[in-house]
């Protein structure tokens, strides 16, 4: 066990918090209608991203999935151009052409994609390039547990293993894939599956940034040297905001009257329709869905919030934490106000 220095903890806290504050601001902007389309947040994943990225060196590459804002931010992309991109602005990271699921940064070798599972092959390609050039760089793939059933990701595990490529596969496991409980559609045990490809794999609590930091602190440097080989981390986490902003399952909890009202009519009609399956099966099906909605509520809980958790675990740093909080919150507030003012001016012109 490597001891973490206080500084490191504070840095991680700051990093995670900045990401959180920015995504909270994004939430407001989305709710106000300034951000279009789907908006998947990384809220709840900050410990995983921050813990992994703290061991990243120049030249390493990161392939992310649809929750790309936190890794882009934490890897060093200017929060302003990031925010402008999500707003579709031509001064954004990608001139407003990409949006949050299609963020790219060539200097930092950062990619994202809205196609589930594609970060696997993407990271493999970066690792291949690093090996080809005989650097000691690695590539990281971030993806969810739902992606573990996508063929190209499975293929990429084998490709990395059989070609001895320095890929760190990071599975951010919240056990949800949109409205599906992943354990119900996934055979076997994920870690066994990964080890079956000849890849070393380890499970950690992804809400504990120290655990993530420590696990990768040993794993990543090992991947850089000598016989390069992939490594796999399954890090458990929750998404307070559900699958994406406006998640219909969570809406049931937030505005139960409105949402249930819209749904129960057709649902009752369907259950009672004179044609259809056996009535006990029908009721069973509906019960299942209702229990799913109930379960989705658990995501709202703070108990697995990585930031709250760090605050609790490191009570003795409370004072420093508060200072950081103040600083970050005002930093992000200023950023958002600035950006939105510019935007409004532009519109006014």
């Amino acid at each position: 066990m490597i001891l973490m220095r206080e500084n490191t903890i504070l840095e991680l806290y700051e990093t995670m918090l900045r990401s959180r504050c920015l995504e909270e601001a994004i939430t407001r902007l989305w709710e106000e209608g300034y951000i279009f389309g789907e908006m998947h947040l990384g809220i709840g994943e900050e410990a995983i991203i921050a813990g992994v990225l703290s061991h990243i060196i120049p030249g390493d590459a990161i392939a992310t999935d649809h929750r790309s804002t936190p890794p882009f931010l934490m890897r060093g992309v200017d929060p302003e151009v990031l925010l402008l991109e999500l707003l579709g602005h031509q001064k954004g990271l990608c001139l407003g052409m990409g949006g949050h699921m299609h963020l790219f940064n060539q200097e930092l070798l950062l990619t994202s994609s809205g196609i589930v599972g594609s970060s696997g092959p993407s990271a493999v390609g970066f690792a291949l390039a690093a090996k080809y050039r005989k650097t000691n760089n690695i590539a990281v793939a971030f993806f969810g547990e739902g992606a573990m059933n996508q063929g190209m990701l499975l293929e990429s595990l084998n490709l990395a293993a059989s070609m001895n490529l320095p890929v760190l596969f990071v599975c951010k496991d919240n056990n949800w894939a949109i409205t599906t409980q992943s354990n119900e559609v996934t055979g076997g045990v994920l870690l066994d599956r990964v080890r079956g490809f000849g890849i070393e794999a380890r499970e950690i609590d992804g809400s504990d940034v120290k655990a993530v930091w420590q696990a990768t602190k040993t794993a990543i440097p090992r991947m850089r040297g000598g016989k390069k080989s992939p490594y796999f981390i399954q890090a458990h986490c929750t998404h307070k905001e559900g699958h994406f902003l406006g998640d219909p399952l969570l809406r049931f909890h937030r505005a139960p009257k409105k949402e249930f009202g819209a749904v129960t009519g057709p649902l009752t009609k369907s259950v009672l329709h004179y044609k259809g399956g056996r009535i006990d099966k029908r009721i069973g099906s509906v019960a299942k869905v209702l229990s799913l909605i109930a379960k989705s509520r658990m995501q709202l809980s703070d108990s697995k919030d990585p930031i709250k958790r760090l605050e609790k675990d490191q009570k003795e740093l409370g004072k420093q934490f508060s200072q950081i909080q103040l600083a970050i919150q005002s930093e992000v507030d200023a950023l958002v106000t600035g950006v939105m003012n510019t935007l409004k001016q532009e519109v006014a012109q």
């Binding site: 389309g37 407003g96 739902g146 599906t180 649902l267």
Partner: protein
């Protein structure tokens, strides 16, 4: 006649089909919530949820159909077909031919498609012309509730693979899911007549490959489908005031194409604009040009309004590159009309 939303019409037609034929079942990701009403009525054998494994469950759908079932396989967004298209390219489309015409694949692939709500280039494609390039596949794209329900029946009853594409601007729950997210302060250009409309009391299939003329005209033919058909109707109204009489044809089926309706209209108007939300090159618009070149003796004025590049995230840019009223109008106004000379 009853009124229904586009999405309800599809669901209603599926309810009818599933009630009447026990071989019809649905399979795809998240169907236990996305198709919760059908689940409630028919139970989970008939509405099966899957892992995120499109190539496996689409491939499985092909043989389930070959075993005599009538699967409706859902690919959430047609953009995702990229991970699974081997099942269509090399299997579903070819089994009938390979088997010497002895074995059918009565498969329906259902997917949402299309843009106009700011989701970017990996989530807003239509790809219907791309899919139709493969011999052995049919592709259908309804533009209003009545067609949506009837064409779903046509797709289910067909003895060969049919890809059924529902546009996200027409299907309200998709738009809520992907675009609005419960917000009341974002508005999209949803064509009313496409999102809601009268539907028959009982669903009957429409003939495969039959287009429909939605508006008669003598000077110009607009050929389109899906959401864009509503843009065309709007353009026709405007052009009417400019003394251009516009015919509007809703193809409904990309494949098989209704060649005769196209040729008849073009022979009459001698001016054709194809309005196609799919990509411009090597697709539907070109195919129609070829039909005209082969089938009409005199020169037709021809133009096309399509998507010419990867769809940008920025909403303004997006609206500009998708087929829209302005682009169609501009092209149409650039044509020469004898009576104006």
């Amino acid at each position: 006649m009853r009124k229904m939303s586009f999405a309800d019409a599809i669901e209603s037609a599926l309810k009818q089909a599933m009630s009447e034929d026990p071989n019809v079942f649905l399979i795809g990701e998240d169907l236990h919530t996305f198709r919760v009403n059908l689940l409630a009525q028919f139970g989970k054998e008939r509405v099966q949820s899957t892992p995120i494994s499109e190539s496996a469950f689409l491939g499985a759908g092909v043989t389930a159909a070959m075993a005599g079932l009538r699967p409706v396989v859902e690919i959430m967004l047609i953009d995702f077909i990229g991970v699974a298209i081997d099942a269509l390219l090399n299997h579903a489309s070819k089994v009938y031919s390979f088997s010497g015409g002895k074995w059918n694949v009565p498969l329906v692939v259902r997917a949402s498609c299309g843009g106009g709500y700011g989701d970017g280039g990996q989530h807003e494609q239509t790809l219907w012309g791309w899919l139709a390039h493969i011999p052995g596949l049919n592709v259908v794209v309804p533009s209003n509730p009545a067609d949506a329900g009837q064409l779903m029946l046509s797709a289910i009853e067909a003895d060969h693979p049919v890809i059924y594409l529902e546009h996200k601007l027409l299907a309200d729950y998709w738009l809520d899911y992907m675009g609005t997210g419960g917000r009341e302060n974002v508005i999209f250009d949803v064509p009313d007549a496409g999102a809601e409309g009268e539907v028959p009391e009982r669903w009957e299939p429409l003939p495969i490959g039959q287009a429909i003329c939605l508006r008669q005209g003598t000077d110009l033919t607009l050929i389109s489908l899906g959401v864009s058909i509503h843009r065309c109707l709007e353009v026709a109204e405007i052009l009417a005031e400019e003394d251009v009489s516009t015919e509007v044809i809703d193809l409904r089926w990309v494949s098989p194409l209704d060649t005769s309706i196209i040729l008849n209209s073009a022979s009459k108007t001698k001016r054709v604009i194809v309005v196609d939300e799919d990509y411009l090159q090597f697709g539907l618009s070109g195919e129609i040009a070829a039909l005209l070149a082969e089938g009409i003796d005199s020169k037709c004025q021809f133009g096309r309004v399509c998507t010419e590049s990867t769809i940008p995230f920025n909403r303004n840019l997006e609206d500009k590159i998708l087929p829209n009223v302005d682009r169609i109008l501009k092209l149409a106004r650039g044509f020469t009309y004898e009576k104006r000379k």
